[in-house]
């Protein structure tokens, strides 16, 4: 089984979004497409699958073994779905049906499920057990951690026996351990003679998968070759830039001030613990945060980082222990950045309208907003748009602006870049640290990315997940 894509062009109103001459997907060898968001890599996957949005036009040919398919024709690959070709969706938690038990969702995809339900359910149970989810067949998706949901999605995608697997950003939102497990899973698919096309901006995942790497930028492929070669000795300047954006390779920025020894204590937590539904998420955490501090809260997903953040911000009451805030933190001097900035703005009003309320309420010095907009390289027209009409990176920078307008003493950033690609992450973190430095404000960075924590923060508090069997809660 092998797949060949030739002369693939995807356009939107005449503008090319994908223009790739030829991509071969040999069996047993991973092919990974990397690049930043907007480079067209996801569209390429959807063009191959035949799931492009109707307003896009596609041209080109797809060869699956000896059969040729015209990419322009959308429905002609439908009969292949599940049996020959399968798509592993991004953010599996959203792709799974929230009202359906896991085992049933997987079983549905089994060949012949309509006539032989029992056999399908048995295959699903076997498959889930093989993926280490033996006891979870009757669980609903929202009780699973991100990594477990990804494994369920993998089971659902492959139960039909599809040899060609297309994975679209499969590691988005996964922590290191879950990502390693995912890479092992994908490699196993290859070892069984399968074809794998992975779309990702996660270079670590690309490294782990090996095989061939294609670097995409502005609709085209700028560099391709074996993974080790492209990712260790990149030839194209764009690839070099992409690699330099990995947090582990950031050049250290000089910091004014340095680590604060005598700065006043802003937040002190004393033996706090919190749990949900009788299950402890974390227990007995003590820490102090001083002005100008740069603290990282790390740990795998499900270890309670966000919950601890809520307790530290006093948005949640701890089950045990106490959290004290310095009086200076009152009146909005403690701010928070959210993992998904789109849900942190009122969804149906232009961003500028919300900011105007803020200016009206707190009356910062005139021109402060314009200065911040300039410093973040954001244009005024963005303020006229709604949160859903602005890209993730820009919106997170707008969230930083919104927080900085109040001159906070402490900024709590909850996975602020985990949904952004590497280049955008670097830019956003750069803006964030610049502002925090200039204002002499403390920063608590919640992240599952140890490399990012080390690149940004002076000290790190690591949460270990509570004993196994606990469904992840964020």
């Amino acid at each position: 089984m092998s797949v060949h894509v030739e002369e693939l062009v995807v356009t939107s109103a005449g503008r090319p979004l994908v223009d790739v001459a030829d991509v071969g997907l040999p069996p047993g060898r991973a092919v990974t497409i990397v690049g930043e968001s907007g480079s067209g890599k996801s569209l390429l996957a959807h063009a191959v699958m035949g799931t492009l949005a109707p307003e896009l036009e596609a041209r080109g040919r797809l060869r699956l073994d000896d059969t040729g398919y015209d990419v322009a024709e959308r429905g002609n690959r439908r009969h292949l779905w599940g049996r020959r070709m399968a798509l592993l969706p991004q953010e599996p938690v959203l792709a799974l049906d929230p009202t359906m038990r896991v085992g049933e969702q997987v079983a549905e995809g089994a060949p012949g499920f309509r006539s032989d339900r029992r056999g399908g359910r048995r295959r699903a149970a076997e498959l889930l057990a093989a993926l280490g989810l033996g006891g979870w067949a009757r669980a609903h998706p929202h009780t699973l951690s991100g990594g477990m949901a990804q494994r369920v999605a993998f089971a659902a995608a492959t139960i039909g026996g599809a040899g060609v697997l297309i994975a679209d950003e499969p590691s988005k939102g996964l922590d290191d351990a879950a990502r390693d497990a995912l890479a092992a899973l994908l490699r196993r698919h290859l070892e069984g003679g399968g074809v794998l096309l992975t779309i990702t901006h996660d270079l670590d995942l690309a490294r782990r998968l090996g095989g061939d790497v294609l670097v995409m930028r502005d609709a085209g492929v700028v560099e391709r070759g074996p993974a080790e070669e492209v990712l260790d000795r990149p030839a194209h300047p764009y690839t070099r830039r992409l690699l330099a954006a990995e947090p582990g390779r950031w050049t250290a920025r000089p910091r004014s001030g340095g680590s604060p020894g005598g700065a006043p204590v802003l937040v002190s937590a004393d033996g706090v613990g919190k749990g949900f539904d009788g299950r402890s998420v974390f227990a007995d955490v003590s820490l102090t945060i001083r002005g100008g501090d740069r603290l990282a809260l790390t740990g795998p997903s499900g270890s309670g980082k966000t919950t601890l953040g809520g307790v530290l911000l006093r948005l949640l009451a701890p089950d045990s222990g106490s959290v004290r805030h310095a009086p200076e933190l009152a009146r909005g001097r403690l701010q928070k950045l959210y993992q998904d900035p789109a849900v942190a703005f009122p969804a149906r009003v232009p961003i500028g309208t919300g900011l105007r309320d803020l200016l009206h309420r707190h009356r910062p010095e005139p021109g402060r907003l314009e200065d911040l907009m300039t410093a973040m390289r954001l244009g005024e027209p963005l303020l006229r748009r709604r949160p859903g009409q602005v890209s993730g990176g820009e919106l997170q920078r707008l969230a930083i602006i919104r927080a900085m307008l109040l001159d906070p003493l402490l900024l709590f950033a909850d996975e602020p870049t985990s949904r952004l690609d590497l280049a955008t992450q670097q830019e956003t973190i750069g803006c964030l640290t610049d502002q925090v430095d200039r204002a002499g404000c403390g920063l608590v960075l919640v992240t599952h990315d140890r490399a990012l924590a080390r690149a940004v923060c002076d000290r790190e508090v690591s949460l270990t997940p509570e004993p196994a069997g606990v469904p992840g809660s964020r």
């Binding site: 701010q335 959210y338 703005f345």
Partner: protein, 277 residues
């Protein structure tokens, strides 16, 4: 204060050019109905003047819909009845929407006892059929308009309450409102920027349906003779009165039915996409 924000963005409004064909037709029907309800009683002022010598007079130039079994002008009665129906429906829907929305936001915001009490109350109203509430109210009312209005509004506030409460609870518990709290923005901001923009399209759709339901409920009551007391003209009551004469004077029964159909089709046709724009 800042040039970046001075130029307020034009809010997307429903422009006539963006209405679909169906919506334009529906709007035209409703405009005609409203015109008839406003100008009709002025042109044909007296709906109760009897002239038994003109018993069941057929339609003519002076009386476009003829005269009924008591020699009263049918067009005058129809115009007055239409005005009554539309005004009552508007008043009932406005009251129900206002009360339901306020109670819903209050319940979602305060939670605790307030929520328990209001939710329990709405539960009790859901358990009763809406028309039963209105029937009881109008039985007590004995033909008066005010109890009828109160009964209709009482039967309708529950749906607004329940929708608004559910949606507000989601919004108020969400990160956007949490962020607004951290930013020190008060309840006015939360209401104006978070809740209202999200609830308004929902309420518009519900109110459109509510108007139709109210007009229909009022005429149903008139039809079974527990609504507005004669001789005040009312659409349902007019249909009942005309029944014995449908053979000799079909226009008498057809006219109020036609108005009812036009009101309902107009309101249903106006319904656009919810939550769009």
């Amino acid at each position: 204060m800042s040039s970046a924000l001075a130029a307020s963005p034009p809010l997307p409004r429903m422009a006539v050019g963006r209405l679909s064909g169906t919506q334009r037709c529906a709007a035209a029907v409703l405009v005609l109905l409203v015109l008839f309800a406003v100008a009709g009683p002025w042109v044909w002022p007296d709906p109760v003047a009897q002239d038994l010598s003109r018993f069941l007079q057929p339609p003519g130039l002076a009386e476009p819909l003829g005269r009924d079994h008591l020699g009263r002008s049918v067009v005058s009665r129809l115009a007055h009845a239409t005005r009554l129906s539309l005004l009552m429906a508007l008043a009932c829907v406005a009251t129900a929407a206002l009360v339901g929305t306020l109670a819903g936001v209050l319940a979602a915001w305060r939670g605790g006892v307030v929520d328990t009490v209001l939710h329990g109350l709405s539960e009790a109203f859901v358990a009763l059929p809406a028309l039963l509430v209105v029937l009881v109210a109008s039985a007590i009312a004995d033909g008066g308009l005010w109890p009828l209005y109160a009964g209709l509004a009482l039967a309708q506030w529950v749906e607004y309450f329940r929708v608004v409460r559910a949606r507000s609870a989601v919004l108020l518990g969400g990160p956007a409102v949490e962020a607004a709290g951290l930013l020190g923005l008060g309840p006015v901001h939360v209401l104006r920027r978070h809740l209202w923009p999200d609830l308004a399209p929902l309420l518009t759709t519900m109110a459109t349906f509510g108007l139709g339901t109210s007009v229909l409920a009022l005429s149903t009551l008139g039809f079974v003779s527990v609504g507005v007391a004669p001789p005040t003209p009312e659409l349902g009551q007019m249909v009942t009165e005309a029944f014995p004469f449908y053979d000799e004077a079909p226009w008498m029964s057809l006219a109020p039915v036609l108005v009812l159909v036009a009101v309902l089709l107009g309101l249903l046709g106006l319904r656009g996409r919810e939550g769009g724009s």
